[in-house]
């Protein structure tokens, strides 16, 4: 059974091609590109909300995309257990639509930041992280102006208690401290799961670290593990 992936394209999405290329290279299947104005999806194994500036980031990052016609369907599928991956702007949209808790605020230094960051894989036991070891340090690029993860203390505690933090910004030797935090994110959080770990939102771009010419391939196991787990 071939893998069926839908990449949602909003006006202003700009990493839709990049993530589709990464998935196609690894799964051998070209994802279905779904326009935001659609209101239904065929039977699908994975929904991807790509990075970019949906609706120009006007009003608030992800706020308008969360009300796009297709999002009603994405939300229903996600709540029914279909895996949903949100990268960068996709993470912001997942928070805005309520599939993940919290919000992404303006970076603490108030500037766009594009560079490689080192991440600590907080759990290797998920659909998305099964090719990594828990505690493994990986290097992946970030590129965002609003990646400063925020949630109230009880939500943060709940995320930790339920092992729902996927990645944290860390130093290259695994220390979780402010020097490793590129944007001021609470508890250095770079990516989180929903309760069932079927939905993941993350700020870093694994699709930009899949090919040796990218200068690193630490994002490749992310998609390899995901594709294998979905095929299983």
């Amino acid at each position: 059974m071939p893998l069926r992936v839908a990449v949602i394209v909003f006006p202003g999405s700009n990493c839709d091609r990049d993530v589709a290329v990464a998935l196609e290279q690894i799964s051998g299947q070209a994802p279905l590109m779904v326009w935001h104005a659609e209101s239904t999806l065929p039977k699908i194994d994975l929904i991807v909300l790509p990075g970019g500036f949906s609706y120009g980031d006007y009003l608030r990052c992800g706020a308008m995309a969360a009300h796009a016609p297709i999002m009603r369907e994405v939300k229903a599928r996600g709540e029914a257990g279909v895996p949903v991956l949100g990268i960068c702007n996709g993470f912001q949209i997942l928070c805005e639509v309520g599939l993940l808790p919290g919000a992404l605020l303006r970076n603490a230094q108030l500037k766009f930041i594009c560079r490689d960051v080192t991440l600590k894989v907080e759990t290797g036991q998920s659909l998305y992280t099964n090719k990594y070891e828990t505690g493994q340090i990986i290097r992946i690029p970030v590129a965002h102006a609003d990646g400063n993860y925020f949630a109230d203390t009880s939500t943060l505690n709940e995320l930790e208690d339920e092992n729902r933090i996927a990645f944290r910004y860390s130093t290259s030797d695994g220390k979780i401290d402010p020097s490793a935090n590129p944007n001021g994110a609470a508890r250095n959080i770079a990516g989180i799961f929903n309760k069932n770990k079927t939905i993941l939102g993350l700020m870093p771009h694994p699709e930009r670290a899949c090919d040796p010419v990218h200068g690193g391939t630490d994002g490749r196991p992310f998609f390899e593990g995901l594709v294998q787990a979905l095929a299983a």
Binding site: G12, N14, C15, R115, A143
Partner: protein
Amino acid sequence: MDGTPYSTGITPDIVKAHGLNTKEYQRAIDILGRAPNLVELGIFSVMWSEHCSYKSSKKWLRQLPTTAPWVIQGPGENAGVIDIGKGLAAVFKMESHNHPSYIEPYQGAATGVGGILRDVFTMGARPIANLNALRFGDPAHSKTRHLVAGVVAGIGGYGNCVGIPTVGGEVNFHKSYNGNCLVNAMTVGVAPIDRIFTAKATGVGNPIVYVGSKTGRDGIHGATMASAEFSEDSEAKRPTVQVGDPFTEKLLIEACMELMATDAIVAIQDMGAAGLTSSSFEMASKGGLGVVLDLDRVPCREDRMTPYEIMLSESQERMLMILKPERESVAKDIFHKWQLDFAIVGHLTDTGRMVLRFHNDVVADLPIDPLAEAAPEYDRPWVKTPALPKLAASSVPETDSVLALKKILGSPDMCSRRWIWEQYDHTVMADTVARPGGDAAIVRLHGSNRALAMTTDCTPRYVQADPRQGGCQAIAEAWRNLTAVGARPLAVTDNMNFGNPERPEIMGQFVGAIEGMREACLALDFPVISGNVSLYNETDGKAILPTPAIGAVGLIDDLAKITSLALSREDLSLILLGDTEGWLGCSLYLREVLSREDGAPPPVNLPTERKVGDFIRNLIQQGFAEACHDLSDGGLAIALAEMCLAGNIGAAITLPSDITPHAFLFGEDQGRYLIATALPEKAMEAAKKSGVSALILGKTGGSSLKLGSQGIISLTELRQVYESWLPAYMSV
């Protein structure tokens, strides 16, 4: 009054405010056979502005070589086009947005990026990279920090949102830019070679279609503003600066790409400087046709806009197209899908005239060709820049070499630009192979193992000291930077930034720079395929350093055969290639260490330049060079320090005894490269065979940089020096 006719409501002062001199106004009357009305006067004003007509520079630009077997489209279209093989073409251009960026840095720079992007995708090319060449005033000047912050944020704000990586560029600081910063933006795009679109209108009766954003009152007379000097009241010109919307630009790119995949488009032109006026004029003029425009149909953002405002608005993110008549609905559906305005605003005629209709009246009626052809062209008086004496190294005081290295490496012109390029998304599109900070950026041709290398270069202090040598050096350095990563240099775009051309000494700089560029382009088979001229970069009579910024593109046939400046491992041999005399005139050593800006700049020996560069490229192809860096500002010591820092590996060299250490370490002799190789014998033998001077300097390894007996510095300290100035400066 001298008997010159004026239409009702037009006074000599109004004519003057439109930037037309008496002769130009008389010429307008001769063309029309009557006095122009206000709308027509506005059109003459923008079409004959320096910005649109190149009236002071045309005569000299013609001297630049613009052809080669791989050139598909030279200057004259929205952007230049070259054949890069396998059915693909590279489309690129650099353009200035200097005046608006000084007045309103964020929007000025942002719309500069938007404008150059449109120039490239108008040709049918999907943009794959942006670069920018920036010049700011003295860091101590009160406006500099504000301008750096605004310009960088504007470039990032626009480029990041449209999702085109910003992969390279350059920045200089000098007091001559205190009153006029330079913002030169370059876009590189790729198109199928058989799908290049141009602005040549054909087909009488074909509809003229307006797409994109609505027309507002912003940017009226931007082109005229960019054709005059600044004075104390420049701030009052803020309303002439346009406001950009990168989100709409992104939609416009996607909609145009979608439409271009059909057969609906006859011709297409973006609305840049002088908006609807110049776009419709250029299309009709190139096709030898006429146009009728119904201005009532132009989508307007504001109520009660006048024909004058509609024609002169420089609102952003707008395009004009000629469509095949039966294909209108295809185009309309695509633009509506992307939620963009789409309006049929007129049609082509065979009259050769531009007729503008508004509220059932004809509000302008002008002959197109006479107006375009009769655009004034000046052979402005010029004087040759006096030659400066060559400065003997022996007359330049020696100082502590390690301290000098630190001083130069940590200076505003040489320190790390990380603070800037980390604000630019340089990895989006997932094809960036070599990121900012190297000799040239490398961007993969999507889905292939080939790539384009790209760079921007100019050393304004050399051009100031000797325009001819400086112009030659700017071309040579761009060629060298492409060579240093393993690319085959193909073509350049030039952005000529100068002061007031009405001053003979400024015109002399322009003439000299063109002469030097021409010589270098010819010697290096490196044609100019597009460009832009920005004159009147003066405030209160003080001109900028002459800055012919060069953008250049080269081809990489195999991504396995590239190199970077980063030292890749320990125990490699360091070899200096090219001739070293120890030229300290006009050097950074002189300026940063001794606070002097005198002497003639280093000359470029073009035959040697070519020989050494071709040799280096072969060496990289054969896998003999594991790291490579060209020697430029600051000379050998700076280049070596940059290689150590990029690879985080130290090096130790010995200095030859037949030259003074300061001349060897900091001399800026041209046409040189430093390589790191595991095969020094082979490299030396090859150099000997090719007649290229080569000198083994030492080895890589360790965690410090040792400059012979001159001293040693740890990489940690070196990095601290290199990385700290810009963030510290910008955090105040």
